[in-house]
């Protein structure tokens, strides 16, 4: 993925409507991630036997620890974006406040970078989860076939 190389200068051409749409989209994505977290935690914590038998326990412990960290990150990011979205008034009140509008756009750009960075890291973690669970399931299946 190449987002880290982008500078997101195009934000200055985003309209108030587009920024509002993006903020809502981020909020919805982050709320979804909260449900997804719960599911991964359930799978990793409840279906423990194959994980123990596959010698993946320390890996899984590390993943659960990181998932918990991401939970906190999601909450922080959600609060920031919700606050940002609620401050959109400055862009649509019809009053010409160039400085405030520029500050708002800068904040939007910063959130866009944070959100993209978060997505990249979170997707990497998800791939690790998929790989680890798949490995445990595969080993479990092999074991069943041999027994």
């Amino acid at each position: 993925m190449e987002t880290s190389g982008q500078n997101y200068k195009y934000v200055k051409w985003k309209s108030a409507e587009e920024m509002h749409f993006s903020s809502n989209q981020w909020i919805s994505e982050l709320n979804f991630i909260k449900d997804e977290h719960q599911f991964f935690e359930d799978v990793l914590k409840e279906y423990t036997l194959p994980i123990i038998e596959s010698h993946l326990l320390s890996k899984v412990k590390d993943i659960i620890y990181r998932l918990t960290k991401y939970k906190q990150k999601v909450e922080t990011l959600l609060n920031k974006i919700t606050e940002h979205r609620n401050g959109l008034q400055v862009m649509v009140d019809g009053i010409n406040q160039l400085e405030e509008e520029n500050i708002y756009k800068k904040e939007h750009r910063k959130l866009l970078i944070d959100e993209n960075q978060f997505s990249l890291e979170y997707n990497d973690l998800k791939k690790e989860i998929f790989e680890t669970i798949s490995q445990a399931l595969k080993q479990q299946k092999q074991k069943r076939l041999l027994s």
Partner: protein
């Protein structure tokens, strides 16, 4: 408008479009991985066996995942074509093509957003159903 200024003018939103295209591609790659993982998960014996209609429900979800995968492949192709048209248009810089590509971009954006929304809805359904019936380790 001078030629250079005209080029600069149409270059600005393009950055935005290209960034969106790149984001769509990344989203579809992730969706593809998720579909593969969930499909695998549904096909393994990790659920409590005595759940009414378990097999049928799992089959239903597997089918929905397969449909989503087919849709994802189509979208991937559309994005690829859009990218090629976009690159050509950037070289040729013809105004009538420019507006056609923008229209395609907007339509594609709608389709991808709808697809991602469906994908999230299905995943949520699968999480809610399977999350409660995972086989407990005893």
């Amino acid at each position: 408008m001078l030629d250079s200024a005209k080029k600069e003018f149409s270059k600005k939103p393009r950055e935005k479009y290209l960034s969106e295209i790149s984001k769509w591609e990344n989203s579809l790659i992730m969706v593809s991985e998720e579909i593969k993982f969930l499909g695998k998960l549904l096909g393994t014996e990790i659920f409590e066996p005595n759940i009414p209609n378990l097999y049928e429900r799992l089959q239903q979800y597997s089918k929905k995942l397969q449909d989503l995968k087919n849709e994802e492949i189509l979208l991937e192709k559309e994005i690829e074509k859009h990218k090629t048209d976009f690159a050509k248009e950037m070289e040729e810089n013809e105004e009538h093509k420019d507006s056609l590509i923008k229209r395609t971009h907007i339509q594609l954006k709608k389709n991808i957003n709808a697809f991602l929304k469906n994908n999230s809805g299905l995943k949520l359904e699968i999480f809610n159903f399977t999350g409660n019936i995972l086989k407990k380790s005893r």
